[in-house]
Symmetry: none
């Protein structure tokens, strides 16, 4: 066994996009880009980088291209708008996320299945603070790399490398069992709602809650987080989202007409 | 499943020692130390470092102790003298080692078995040239992280993180099946909504749709079926159902007051 390079369903990883939220250090951005390049992940998105010159990130040996194609977004919502699954990352010790948490090994299985059906986003927070609750609110669930209690927090570039390694392992494992792979691709084809659809659902429900007097003025941020989490925790497919959107539009229209009269 | 820290046979990794041969960059040495600290590997050995001041390596957040205990050796032979197994690392593209090559996933299994019996060394070469043939000559076999042909060579700190992750996974998989069971039980404890809760949700949404004019008189049965299916297809847990019920109650109340006025 001399040639152990990645083959198989490497192409599935093309549906993965890595999203760095408010990264501070160009060195780390470069390291993430290099790991992406090692494992065949092409799409890097950056939300509000601290350092605008992040494209100059050094240590991105062999990943200059990928870095120059990186897209910059003003919000997490925009960065994940076309994604059928949005996964956050968190260090075990940092804080208790409200979303379900999966260990990396099982998370890779879940993400592998979703990658067969559409774009999947993997979010990393800033080196200093990680993902904030408002970022996590866009995530269906959170993955965690099991580390030691005494030193749970990993360097950003290393955490990304470990995640991408596990995902590429998952995808090539899946590719080796071809029948199995075909089946799981088919089962994922039932179109999951995209981040954009979930965002529209969130907006219209928030508006209905506001107009109906559910949202207390001083609790608006809490309500928004609750709604955002609810909409993402639930497994809406495209048709569900569509149906619910139609319902909420009508309810909102009626609430608004009542307000005017 | 909130606590996903490493427990179980972590202690087995105490028999692992990481050997850096002729490392050049203190930043990378620091990064290796940090990954070791994340995954519970305590013994770092350095052979002929280019930079004598490697102990000052930055980016070794939480690994200062480990770094200050690192031993310096004049030869690979001395550094691995007490080891029952010596494993080299190589990038797929770099050169054809004469030793057998195992992919990381299978290598971790082999190393896990050996760790139960004594000290095991994992060697990394310099950032620039990797392990030379004279270094590899001390190795029983070589491990390789499967990467893309176009960009096979990983950053030293990232390669170390990926190897140690896989090894710690191997060791905890072996020791931790019962803990895993406990963990998935805990993760499922987030109670699924009951049939009764789903029914209340269905009723109140149907009522809101009716009052808002969404439900067409001659299509009431179809709407009811759609709502019933939607509510059940979606994976509500108890808290989701509760939250949504509260929201819909308020919306309905507002719709009803509008109707009366």
């Amino acid at each position: 066994m001399r040639d152990v390079r990645l083959v198989g369903r490497e192409s599935q990883l093309e549906n993965l996009c890595v999203v760095l939220v408010a990264p501070r250090n160009p060195l780390n951005i470069g390291a993430v880009a290099r790991a992406m390049s090692n494992f065949g992940v092409e799409t890097l998105r950056v939300v509000n980088p601290y350092e605008v010159a992040f494209r100059d990130a050094r240590s991105a040996v062999g990943a200059e291209d990928l870095l120059s194609r990186a897209e910059v977004f003003g919000s997490v919502a925009d960065a994940v708008a076309d994604c059928v699954l949005v996964v956050g990352t968190t260090a075990a010790g940092r804080r208790e996320p409200l979303q379900p948490v999966h260990r990396l090994a099982e998370a890779a299985g879940l993400m592998g299945a979703a990658l067969a059906g559409g774009r999947v986003a993997l979010l990393f927070g800033s080196e200093k603070r990680g993902l904030l609750n408002e970022d996590l609110a866009h995530c269906q669930w959170v993955l965690n790399i099991p580390t030691r209690e005494r030193q749970p927090s990993m360097n950003l570039g290393q955490a990304a490398a470990v995640c991408l390694y596990e995902l590429s392992r998952e995808c090539s494992d899946a590719g080796e069992e071809s029948a199995e792979g075909a089946h799981s691709a088919a089962s994922c084809e039932a179109t999951t709602a995209t981040g954009g659809e979930l965002e529209r659902l969130t907006d219209i429900l928030l508006e209905a809650l506001d107009v109906s007097g559910y949202t207390l003025p001083d609790k608006a941020a809490v309500t928004e987080q609750n709604v955002r989490r609810l909409i993402r925790r639930v497994n809406f497919d495209h048709d569900d989202a569509d149906l619910l959107l139609g319902m909420l539009r009508q309810i909102l229209w009626m609430l608004r007409s009542a307000e005017r009269s």
